[in-house]
């Protein structure tokens, strides 16, 4: 408590009101923020606790908070007998390959936009940004026809390739590559390095911070993606975790305690990433205004 009061005094803003320590507002504000944090955190804790309950306990009215017994078997049973090992593997595979592909093709495009003069550069760049205006939601039907024609329904290609070209990734990488001095590229060229070699050996290593941001974004996007895999994966063999959770829960074909366990499992990687990289994530979003 002392801490709060002390820091409120240091704070110019609130200490202006009339010279005496404006403790009430500082304390009230801190309390509101703590309350907000609880509103965010408690549902997550609630679901983590619930994921260890068995079905009878989940059906109990009123509900319990702490499980009577910790049923870790919810997790193993879902993975072993309800195909969730496959869905988890699909999610990991799709996220990893799509992210890798995104990094490759987005940085290639960004390199062209940042370091070459060519006819149509402005137009193509604006077109790239304009892709943000055509969200998947408005092209559901025609895009389904396209992937049907290309035999990409129920394939990993279909899950990975179309989602890999992201306008946001191109934008972030291009902005960063603009700051790489042209002199480095030109001196490499004098040393006889070809364009692709310059891209691979000079640009990519120098663009590492931006590549890291795009990697984090891409992992988040692909891991949580729902609408796209929902369209492509019509066969349960190709379900990713979110699709499996939504569909199997909707059909009531998987016991609810297992659905909760797998929900928690699917939150885990993102929460881990958040704990270690929250600053980069928040900064990246504040800078681009995108997520």
């Amino acid at each position: 408590m002392k801490n709060i009061v002390a820091s409120a005094n240091k704070n110019k803003w609130s200490s202006m009101s009339g010279g005496k320590p404006p403790t009430t507002w500082a304390v009230l504000r801190t309390l509101i923020l703590i309350w907000l944090v609880l509103i965010i955190v408690l549902p997550v804790i609630w679901i983590v606790l619930a994921s260890f309950k068995d079905l009878p306990e989940l059906g109990q009215k009123p509900p319990t908070l702490i499980p009577h017994a910790w049923h870790i078997s919810n997790y193993s049973q879902a993975l072993q007998t309800y195909g969730f090992a496959t869905f988890l593997r699909n999610s990991i595979f799709v996220t990893a390959s799509a992210t890798l592909l995104t990094l490759i093709i987005n940085s290639m495009a960004a390199f062209a936009f940042a370091k070459y003069n060519f006819r149509g550069r402005e137009g193509l760049f604006i077109m790239t940004l304009a892709m943000l205006m055509i969200p998947l939601q408005v092209i559901l039907i025609p895009i389904y026809q396209v992937i049907t024609k290309l035999h990409m329904v129920n394939t990993f290609w279909g899950l990975i390739i179309p989602a890999a070209a992201t306008p946001t990734g191109v934008f972030i990488l291009r902005q960063y590559m603009l700051t790489i001095p042209d002199e480095i590229i030109e001196s490499a060229r004098i040393d006889g390095a070809g364009d692709f070699r310059i891209f691979l050996r000079i640009i990519i290593p120098l663009a590492k911070p931006a590549l890291a941001v795009v990697t984090i974004f891409s992992i988040m996007w692909r891991w949580n993606d729902f609408l796209w895999p929902l369209i492509v994966a019509q066969d349960s063999k190709f379900y990713t975790l979110p699709v499996a959770l939504a569909i199997l829960n909707g059909e009531l074909s998987v016991p609810y305690n297992l659905v909760l366990a797998m929900s928690v499992l699917s939150l885990l990687p993102v929460i881990i990433m958040f704990v270690f990289m929250q600053r980069q994530i928040a900064q990246g979003i504040a800078q681009t205004g995108l997520k």
Partner: protein, 303 residues
């Protein structure tokens, strides 16, 4: 650079033609995907909206029939009204609450970083799982929310069963998910405000809430507009968390436009043309809002 090319003059013609191609080669994979999976489908969707199909294979030209049907069909009007109510509720609550949180966080010194991070956390979580979490919490008899309310003597509220409450529940969960995203943007805006302005204003006798009202909020207007626009676009696109929270129910009370498009395309009765027309209208809504965003951004840069 120049001298190097001149030294190799004899092969220059071929080389420079190849060199001019190089940037296009770097762009090719990305642009090919955009073309094939975004631009072509967008044009094609516009085209399909003038046809009718109930199986996805046979298409019959109906002119503007789908559009006429959309504006007279009761189910579509219901979806439009749901979407409008959701977007209005979501945008207003998001803007008001994220401004309030941003102002508090900006003034906070103790624990600022951790508060900001935690409030931001839901933005990163899977919307599908967020829907599942809140479906569990808002369950009438087994949910944690009603158990909490019981402590203060409120009876069991049928959050997800009675259409009186469902839309509010959906708006709340949308807010819970995204408010941290808007807060981070507003915080960046707040930090961009020149500190000297506060000093000057306080010398003129403005304090506390007065200072916020007369100085901070007006200066925060451009960022607020960006948040309004992003929230509106997001509101119109909402689908995934609602799918697992209410599934669009009860009896279509929370079915928004994207779910309507999805259902008409993938659930019987399939109505490709009608869904495409709805998608085209959704596109123009999002398109005009984005253009507005761009224009505001440009006029802000000009200042």
């Amino acid at each position: 650079m120049k001298t190097l090319e001149r030294a190799k003059a004899p092969r220059r013609g071929l080389r420079s033609r190849r060199r001019r191609l190089i940037p296009y080669l770097f762009l090719l994979p990305n642009m090919a995907i955009f073309g094939l999976f975004t631009i072509f489908p967008a044009l094609r969707g516009f085209w399909i909206s003038f046809f009718d199909s109930t199986d996805g294979r046979h298409f019959k030209y109906v002119g503007t029939g789908n559009y006429k049907e959309i504006f007279s069909d009761q189910a579509v009007l219901n979806v439009a009204s749901n979407t409008a109510r959701y977007v209005i509720g979501y945008v207003i609550s998001s803007v008001v609450i994220s401004i309030a949180i941003a102002l508090m966080l900006n003034a906070q010194t103790w624990g600022k970083t951790i508060f900001r991070s935690v409030i931001f956390l839901p933005v990163l979580l899977s919307p599908v799982v967020i829907g599942l979490i809140w479906a569990n919490l808002l369950d009438r008899k087994r949910g944690g929310i009603n158990a909490l309310l019981a402590i203060v003597g409120v009876g069991k509220v049928p959050w997800l069963v009675d259409s009186k409450y469902t839309m509010w529940a959906v708006i709340f969960v949308g807010l819970w998910t995204h408010v941290g995203f808007f807060t981070v943007i507003l915080l960046a805006g707040l930090q961009g405000i020149d500190k000297n302005i506060y000093e000057a204003a306080s010398l003129d006798g403005a304090h506390g809430w007065n200072l916020v009202r007369t100085i901070t909020l007006p200066l925060l207007k451009p960022t607020t507009l960006v948040v309004v626009i992003l929230a509106t676009i997001q509101g119109f696109q909402s689908f995934d968390f609602i799918y697992t929270l209410t599934g669009g129910g009860p009896v279509g009370a929370t079915t928004l436009i994207v779910q309507y498009i999805y259902d008409s395309a993938f659930q019987t009765p399939i109505r490709y043309g009608l869904a495409s027309a709805a998608a085209v209208i959704l596109f123009f809504i999002i398109f005009s809002i984005t253009i507005l965003n761009y224009l505001i951004g440009r006029s802000r840069d000009a200042l």
